[in-house]
Symmetry: C2
Subunit: 149 residues, 2 copies
DNA sequence: CTCAAGTATATGAGAGTTCAACTAAAATGG
DNA sequence: CCATTTTAGTTGAACTCTCATATACTTGAG
């Protein structure tokens, strides 16, 4: 038998879907408008920017960015066309390759970061109390943990 | 000056992004596998199923489903091809049209609902305490309210 | 050393989304 | 009324994502 959602759960679920979709829509619009990239690409650039020497193996980066390898491969191809990322063959493993953040890519990221953070604040942190932020972190950590296996 | 995220906010944000993306990925995979439709289409069908006479004006439905008119128009076109939705001209307003859920569409929705709800439970409600659900609802309602203007 | 199996990544087709036109029908306001 | 503006909805192109498949290299068994 299906355990349907009770009224509280139903309401919570619909608010969740509405809030998250509005949030991502706002993020994507902002990033697309101001930096010409979707949020997924931004995340890839962030990953690389924080990696040692701004380089990461493709599969490592895919894991980091919660992306399938295929998705990442397409994304990096796109980012490469724009000169923001460059690929390098991996010397240790002939199958592998590194994605490397170029200076232009770093600059693009730096240029996008301000507006992005502002949008995240406006949409999320500015409207939540510190306790709510803690609660949200808790909830998301739990869900993340559950789904990461 | 940019007000960057502090460590707590940073952590919360990354957990939020990770959790929501994993969650939507799980939902979409489940619905695609078991019912051959993405979550966005499921939402459209739900909207129609709850409307009087299972029919709604396109723009009303777009608002309900948090979708752009264009997105909805494409989606309904697709759903129409499968025979799950049918369009009807609006008698009062020559520009408008109704989307109507067909019996096949209702059946498809009914068939998809069980697995979908299971997935939502597994991924979210089963791992959260009642207080967390309340907190999440609160947070999402706030964010939703903020972004809906 | 060789062959089968596994791993890292790329690629192409198909599907969904976005954005910018575009059509057609109201509404508004001289 | 007529002209303008607004509203409802559609369409096509460009882009991203997914899924299945292909390619090339590595590993491990015998």
């Amino acid at each position: 038998m299906t355990r349907w959602l009770d009224d509280d759960e139903q309401r919570a679920w619909r608010n969740f879907v509405a809030a998250t979709q509005l949030l991502y829509a706002a993020l994507d619009r902002q990033l697309q408008r101001d930096a010409g990239m979707p949020h997924a690409y931004y995340v890839v650039l962030v990953g690389l920017s924080e990696a040692p020497e701004r380089r990461m193996r493709m599969s490592e980066l895919a894991t980091w960015a919660q992306s399938s390898q295929s998705r990442l491969s397409h994304a990096v191809a796109r980012l490469e066309e724009r000169g923001w990322v460059r690929r390098e063959r991996c010397p240790d493993d002939g199958r592998g390759s590194f994605a490397v953040l170029t200076d232009e890519g770093f600059a693009a990221l730096a240029g996008a970061a301000h507006g992005h953070v502002e949008e995240v604040r406006r949409s999320l942190f500015d409207v939540l109390s510190p306790e709510q932020v803690r609660a949200l972190d808790d909830i998301c950590a739990t869900v993340r943990d559950t789904l990461e296996r």
